[in-house]
């Protein structure tokens, strides 16, 4: 789907799915006569990301957003579906060697600043690894200079290259992770909850840094988060996920001003009221169902105040509704009054 300028999207994902086999062991299955069990972590997801924009995937735990991130970046192989990056279908390339130049242009930042850096390596080696792997600089002097340049870009001192990760705080480690990702000179960054483990003031520093880097280097972000306020700050467009499916996609302004899907509304309602308006919140009852055994039809119907018979039987598809894409029968049938907040 081309955008207004007629360009193809930078990243296009269609019917992406990933199932995990959580069947009991063979012996148990034979004796207890149990079948195979699949955990449908991602069950048919479509979205596009244009060059230079930030697209966020938001949802609660178990919705599959982290799995989508790992599928896009190649850590998991998709069970079905396509991932097209700059026109090339990643799923079709089988060998590592074939994928390597394309993969270099796509890097990832992880959630846990403590586990994402090898504790036995010095920081300068951690950052230099992508440079060496892809031969982006030759000679120790050139590599060292480039590492210092990268450290400067994330506002760390050149002397920090000599240290080990445990000598740094969480926020500083996340900067090192960003520097490492940038070392491969990527155009596309997948960020998996990069600030969820950080304090509020550190989070602000990292988010500002990421925005600045995006402007300076022309990066495209796929941003994963469960924090709606952060998503509001950083995104151009947003996709809301629930139990492995996308329920709503829209640009940020539209989504936050006029959410359509009942789950989106519920999520927005759970954001604490920092403006102290005294607004009474209506916490929606129930919990996220077990992804191994999702409900039939629309995955959200057990908790949805607008569910009807069709919702229990038929799984809704993403359909355009004004400026957004929404997967909801009630919206399609016009049963939900648009809400302006």
């Amino acid at each position: 789907m081309a955008d207004a300028g007629g360009r193809a999207p930078f990243l296009a994902v269609s019917d992406l799915a990933r199932y995990f086999d959580v069947s009991p062991p063979l012996l148990n299955r034979l004796i207890e006569r149990r079948g195979r069990l699949d955990l449908k972590a991602v069950d048919g997801v479509d979205f596009q990301i244009r060059r230079g924009e930030t697209f966020s995937l938001v949802g609660e735990s178990g919705c599959g957003k982290s799995t989508v991130a790992r599928l896009v970046v190649g850590l998991y192989r998709p069970t079905r579906g396509q991932i097209e990056f700059d026109g090339a279908d990643l799923a079709r390339m089988k060998s590592r060697l074939e994928q390597k130049p394309l993969r270099r242009r796509m890097q990832m930042i992880f959630q846990d600043p403590y586990a994402s850096l090898n504790p036995r390596w010095r920081v300068r080696d951690i950052i230099a690894e992508p440079i060496r792997t892809h031969g982006l600089r030759t000679g120790a002097a050139a590599i060292r200079a480039r590492v210092e340049e990268l450290l400067g870009q994330v506002k760390l001192a050149p002397a920090d290259g000599e240290k080990y990760p445990h000598e740094f705080s969480g926020g500083q480690r996340q900067r090192i992770s960003i520097a490492r990702a940038l070392a491969a000179e990527p155009e596309f960054l997948v960020c998996d909850e990069p600030t969820s483990a950080l304090d509020v003031s550190v989070q602000a520093q990292i988010l500002n840094l990421m925005k600045e880097l995006q402007r300076k280097l022309g990066l495209t972000y796929l941003f994963i988060s469960h924090n709606l306020a952060v998503v509001y700050f950083i995104s151009d467009r947003v996709g809301v996920m629930y139990l492995g499916r996308l329920v709503e996609t829209a640009d940020a302004a539209t989504l936050f001003a006029a959410p359509r899907h009942p789950y989106t509304r519920m999520l927005l309602d759970t954001i604490p009221d920092l403006a102290m308006t005294g607004r009474q919140r209506q916490p929606v009852g129930g919990e996220v169902p077990n992804p191994i055994d999702p409900p039939d039809g629309c995955a959200f119907h057990p908790r949805c105040p607008f569910a009807n018979e069709r919702c229990r039987r038929e799984r809704p598809e993403l359909r355009a509704d004004a400026a957004a894409l929404v997967a909801c029968h009630a919206v399609e049938e016009g049963r939900i009054a648009p809400e302006m907040s």
């Binding site: 550190v202 989070q203 500002n208 306020a229 509001y232 700050f233 309602d269 919140r281």
Partner: protein, 330 residues
């Protein structure tokens, strides 16, 4: 007389490189029935304070000074035996991880009745009745069956409800809740916060809510104490602290929180990081990062001073001092 009075509390960790002071001259009070939020970032010392109050400070950490007075009685110098009587009966606790707060080997009912029998001296049947009532009160559906289930049979949110029931089982006067919703999904967080608020109001229990999440505080607390580097930086009613903070740190903190409808190009950030324990700067601990620092801040440590509607530990609000020149940052 306040329900809980903490005065000049000091918590230290002796290490082989010297003594590290994690909480340094901390003072605040909690009135009966009120919810006091204690908010701060990692390393501010808020969890340690909660642990010290109920006597669950992990050695080698120890209370090195100050007093903790509960219900008119000093509790920081009690023997472990006496503390055990107070813990559970008078002061309840809710911790962050519901997975580890419950014993996986005992049914939920057994853990509840155990607490009830020890502290309320009810016999078997009456204890079970009370346990059932508690489970219903925290919103566990099908309480009659679920009372005999094991913790792993509950989901995260349900487990936290059980933990709340456990904390309130003996009708304590104060509950210390340490990050009770951090490990939960946002939609469940909202449910649990509402539950906690309602229960404590119904039972007249005071709550010390320790968290790093300002949003939770804004929804739940009556008053809030903002901690920085082991001391209170600002304290006041939630409305005042959140809407019109006075201490530069609180101002920075509120500005750094992204909000729907707020800034989208840049968040107001505080440069630098909280000082490590043992590396606290001289004078006001916040002075290296403060945008309004002046000479006095670097040498003298401020006490809590009245600052508009709140109290802030900041020399900007020393009404007695003569007007002074503000030094530009740096």
């Amino acid at each position: 007389m306040a329900l809980l009075e903490i005065e000049h509390l000091q918590i230290e960790f002796p290490t082989r490189r010297g003594v590290l002071r994690a909480v340094d001259d901390l003072s605040f009070t909690i009135e009966a029935g009120e919810v006091l939020g204690v908010v701060g970032e990692s390393g501010a010392g808020k969890s340690l304070t909660g642990a010290a109050i109920i006597g669950l400070l992990e050695p080698p950490g120890r209370i090195a000074g100050g007093t903790v007075v509960f219900n008119g009685r000093r509790i920081d110098n009690l023997s472990p035996e006496e503390l055990r009587h107070i813990r559970g009966k008078e002061i309840g606790a809710i911790f962050q991880d519901p997975l580890t707060s419950l014993n996986p080997l005992y049914t939920v009912g057994r853990q509840l009745t155990e607490t009830i029998r020890v502290h309320l001296r009810l016999d078997g049947a009456a204890a079970r009745e009370r346990a059932l009532a508690l489970l219903r009160e925290v919103g566990i559906p099908g309480a009659e069956q679920r009372i005999d289930h094991y913790p792993h049979q509950f989901s995260g949110g349900m487990r936290q409800r059980v933990v709340i029931a456990l904390a309130l089982a003996a009708n304590p006067r104060l509950v210390i809740a340490d990050e009770p919703t951090t490990a939960l999904d946002v939609s469940i967080q909202a449910q649990i916060i509402a539950l906690l608020k309602r229960l404590c109001r119904d039972h007249g229990t005071a709550v010390m809510l320790v968290t790093h999440d300002m949003g939770v505080i804004a929804e739940t607390a009556d008053r809030v104490a903002v901690m920085y580097a082991g001391r209170v930086a600002e304290i006041g009613s939630v409305r005042d602290v959140v809407k019109s903070p006075r201490h530069p740190y609180t101002v920075g903190l509120m500005g750094a929180i992204p909000t729907i409808g707020g800034a989208r190009d840049r968040l107001a950030q505080i440069d630098g990081a909280m000082p490590r324990v043992g590396a606290t700067p001289k004078g006001c601990a916040f002075n290296p990062r403060c945008g309004r620092v002046f000479e006095r801040c670097r040498h003298e440590r401020p006490e809590l001073l009245p600052a508009g509607a709140t109290e802030a530990a900041c020399w900007l609000y020393d009404a007695a001092a003569a007007p002074r020149k503000e030094v530009a940052h740096g």
